[in-house]
């Protein structure tokens, strides 16, 4: 059976890859790259060459292409020691047209062109746009640059190549003495007195590879981690998974024991420290706080992450819709063809037919009439603000569970085995709990992992109605700001979750019901 599930998992992963390729083709090939400027006011205001340059810099920012200017190239040469700084200054300014280049400049322009064309870039030279024979028009300065679209296959390869990371003591590329791992029973983040085991690395990407803290799941590891690509605009430069899992809201300061021995009020979560080469010496603050280059830390904030909110709201919603919907379904089945049953089916029709948007607003209005909070507030959180979103999910979810359970009960109550059990003299209660419910529970169990997935992906519309700072909101933000990084990352995230959930559902079902077997022999 294990082999069967591994095969399923493998096929599922292949499907994810195909889906990501399709989405990347849509985003980077099919989509007209000019779309991102439609509502960009800054772009509308620019003129002439400046407009073109702006276009290319934005495209690079959104990761459509690789863009290198002539100046970047010269700076690179200076860094590699092939060019003197002073000489570079003299050749940095190109002529208004190619014919007006000074001989030195022309030589390097030719080198630049040759170098990047050999790498498959398109080299573009924009001649100056003249307003009068002597004066350059607004935004009409001359430019020289090279640009290359990243092919989709390379993009995909890069994405999946960078999906999984393993930390090692050779990760950091600076001059680090005594690379290695050390184990301590007294975590220095807690002042070095309290008992709290931790594994600390030197030369690794994360400083803390294993540690305990007071946040779920209490024990954390950084030996291996997943990245889903970078956000380009929503949360610039930050990894997608981190954007989803990062705490939100205002900073909380607490007594912090910095690596230098300084004890002060601070919001830094020192456990999250990662390596950033040469950053300690860049600012005085870093010099005071840190004793090494592990200076990149997260900040402790008051509120949970996006995933947390989406998850909590939907999990409680789903659990309660099961808890209420199933008994109600039984009730309807027992009172078949009475007014109770008709009321139930009317409720069902209402839930299916009414657009979810209208339904959300009706419930929201009802909630505000009752004086309940109808929007999330990170500044003054209360347990009550979860109530309305959860109720919204429950009332809608009950309909589905109820309908299913009623149908199942009605079918089963007339089946032979139930009649036989009744003839044997079993009580109705016994028949239900020992026979019918056991059979009905199989598909219910099958749906539970799916419920968890639905919980995380959340209802995009509902999160907006109640202003929940969740994953759905992040997705909408990424759509409205054309953040392809987040879109691809979320697609992979949802894809992996739904594969895992279907497989998990099948495993649970097989555990519940011994008749189900996934191996071909038993069939």
């Amino acid at each position: 059976m294990l082999k069967y599930f591994f095969k399923r998992l493998f096929r599922g992963l292949l499907s994810v890859i195909v889906a990501v390729v399709a989405i990347m083709i849509l985003l980077f090939v099919v989509m007209d790259k000019m779309t991102i400027f439609q509502e960009d006011e800054q772009y509308q205001r620019l003129l002439n060459n400046q407009k073109i340059i702006y276009r290319y810099t934005m495209w690079e920012k959104y990761s459509y292409l690789d863009y290198v200017t002539y100046n970047d190239y010269l700076n690179e040469l200076v860094r590699d020691g092939e060019l003197e700084e002073s000489f570079k200054e003299s050749i940095a300014k190109i002529g208004k047209t190619a014919a007006q280049d000074k001989p030195d400049v022309a030589e390097y322009v030719a080198k630049f062109t040759e170098y990047y064309e050999s790498k498959g870039y398109e080299v573009i030279r924009l001649d100056a746009v003249m307003a009068t024979p002597v004066r350059v028009a607004s935004g009409g300065q001359q430019h020289l640059f090279a640009a290359q679209n990243t092919p989709v296959l390379i993009r995909v390869a890069k994405f999946f190549g960078g999906l999984l990371h393993f930390d090692s003591i050779h990760y950091a590329d600076g001059d680090i003495e005594d690379r290695g791992l050390s184990f301590t029973l007294h975590d220095p983040v807690y002042g070095g007195e309290k008992f709290s085991p931790a594994i600390i690395g030197n030369g690794t990407y994360h400083k803390y590879l294993l540690y305990f803290d007071r946040y779920f799941p209490y024990i954390h590891q950084n030996f291996t981690w997943i990245t889903l690509g970078q956000s380009y605009t929503v949360n610039k430069g930050v990894e997608v998974l981190k954007t989803m899992g990062q705490r939100q809201g205002a900073y909380i300061t607490s007594t912090t024991y910095y690596p230098t021995g300084l004890v002060a009020e601070g919001a830094e979560d020192l456990h999250s420290a990662t390596y950033a080469k040469g950053t300690r010496e860049t600012t005085n603050v870093n010099m005071r706080l840190y004793s090494d280059d592990y200076t990149s830390v997260d900040l402790v904030k008051t509120s949970g992450s996006k995933v947390f909110y989406s998850f909590v709201v939907s999990i409680f919603g789903s659990i309660f819709s099961y808890l209420l919907g199933l008994p109600l379904g039984v009730l309807l089945a027992k009172n078949k063809d009475t007014w109770i049953d008709q009321l139930g089916s009317a409720y069902n029709v209402f839930m299916i037919a009414v657009p979810s948007l209208s339904y959300y607003f009706m419930i929201k209005a009802l909630g505000s009439k009752l004086g309940l909070p109808t929007s999330f507030s990170l500044d003054n959180p209360s347990v009550l603000m979860y109530l309305m979103p959860v109720v919204t999910i429950v009332l809608a979810g009950i309909a589905g569970q109820m309908k299913w359970m009623r149908r199942y009960m009605v079918d089963q109550m007339n089946s032979d085995y139930v009649k036989f059990a009744r003839a044997e003299g079993l009580s109705e209660r016994e028949i239900f709990s020992k026979y019918i419910f056991k059979n009905a529970a199989i598909p219910i169990v099958h749906g539970i992992p799916g419920m968890f997935v639905g919980a995380i992906s959340g209802s995009i519309i509902m999160e907006r109605v109640y202003i929940i700072p969740g994953v759905g909101g992040l997705f909408l933000q990424s759509i409205s700001s054309y953040d392809n990084g987040v879109i691809v990352g979320l697609a992979v995230f949802y894809g992996l979750l739904s594969i895992l959930s279907t497989i998990l559902g099948d495993i649970l079902m097989a555990i519940m019901d011994p008749r189900i077997s996934y191996t071909s022999k038993a069939r």
Binding site: R11, G12, S15, V16, V18, A19, A22, I23, L26, L27, V30, M31, T35, Q38, V349, F350, I352, A353, V354, P355, S356, L357, S358, Y359, F361, M362, K364, A365, S368, S457, I460, I461, R464, F475, L476, I479, S480, Y482, I487, L490, A491, Y494, G495, S498, I499
Partner: protein, 329 residues
């Protein structure tokens, strides 16, 4: 065995008169074609069953009224969002205030919106676009879905290929795919339809495939196959009639589903530029909590709920009526 023939009795030996005995009747070719059972026409029976319920007549009357209003009213009263834009006293009025301000007219039945426009006009104009969108999406999805679903159910090879496609498409939430497509093609009426339909037919085809597989291997089809019926004949003559009720139900109930989908997409900012029901709700959503401004928000919200329920009920009753099992007298 030989003994049995000995037991046969010669009828003339019984002594009965000829009238009491069996006689041979010559074959009458004209009576061969006659069927004694009462005349049955499928669609005739569908409508008979449908209209025999009084509640169905009420909802179909409501539907006809809504359709007539949505498609005819805007011709006479074209919706103009900016008709009262300069009139600061015309904004956010309740029906009473609006009628006091502009005089009695059906146009002010739902009050006015944020730029002094008639909410009544907006709702009809918007529901025309929303309904057209939903109907076109349903037609496209079902014409593709029916053909693909039938092939999917019948052919094992197609089944293998389509299952893989479905696995790829369905691992990512539908709203996600639709939103990304709308972002890519920048929203307009036809791109919205494209975005909804490009994955929508797959759901229709898959549910149909399941139905086909259930019915395909029943004994009567096996018998039909043994008698030499072609697959096309089995599909169109044996299976399609069985599924018409199912198809009608799903099709009719998917129209309100698309109206709801469009409203949701408009609300999250992915709708088309033109006025639709979702767009009206979205534009007025800030007025929801303002005391006295409720009309401009609740009217479109309640109207889209009403429209969807009417469409859904008509669809469901039509689906019930299309089921041949309800045709028995």
């Amino acid at each position: 065995m030989g003994n049995d023939t000995d037991k046969l009795i010669d009828l003339t030996d019984t002594g009965l008169p000829d009238e009491e005995l069996f006689t041979q009747i010559p074959q009458d070719m004209s009576s061969v074609e006659k069927i004694v059972a009462p005349k049955y026409s499928y669609w005739h029976s569908v409508f008979r069953v449908f209209f025999s319920k009084k509640s169905n007549i009420v909802i179909i009357a409501l539907l006809v009224m809504v359709l007539a209003f949505a498609y005819i009213y805007p011709v006479f009263h074209p919706y103009d969002k900016f008709e009262n834009i300069l009139d600061t006293t015309a904004k956010h009025l309740t029906p009473m205030q609006a009628m006091k301000r502009f005089g009695f007219s059906i146009r002010w039945l739902f009050g006015t919106g944020e730029s002094g426009q008639s909410t009544f006009d907006a709702i009809w104009y918007g529901s025309r676009i929303s309904m057209s969108l939903a109907i076109i999406c349903t037609l496209i999805n079902f014409s593709i879905g029916l053909v693909v679903g039938a092939l999917w159910g019948f052919s094992k090879k197609v089944d293998m290929v389509m299952n893989e496609i479905r696995n790829v498409v369905w691992i990512i939430p539908g709203t996600f795919v639709t939103s990304v497509l709308i972002m890519i093609f920048s929203p307009s009426f036809w791109t919205l339809i494209f975005a909804i339909c490009i994955t929508g037919w797959l759901g229709v085809a898959y549910s149909l495939r399941t139905q086909v597989i259930i019915i395909r291997d029943r004994e009567y089809n096996l018998a039909s196959k043994c008698l030499g019926s072609s697959t096309v004949r089995i599909a169109t003559r044996n299976i399609l009639p069985y599924m018409i009720s199912y198809i009608v139900t799903v099709m009719a109930t998917s129209i309100p589903a698309y109206i709801g989908m469009e409203a949701g997409l408009s609300y999250i900012g992915l709708g088309i530029a033109d006025t639709t029901l979702g767009k009206i709700v979205n534009n007025a959503s800030s007025a929801m909590m303002v005391p006295g401004w409720g009309w401009e928000f609740w009217c479109p919200v309640m109207f889209s709920a009403f429209l969807s329920i009417v469409l859904f009920l008509v669809g469901q009753s039509l689906g019930d009526a299309a089921d041949p099992r309800t045709h028995m007298l």
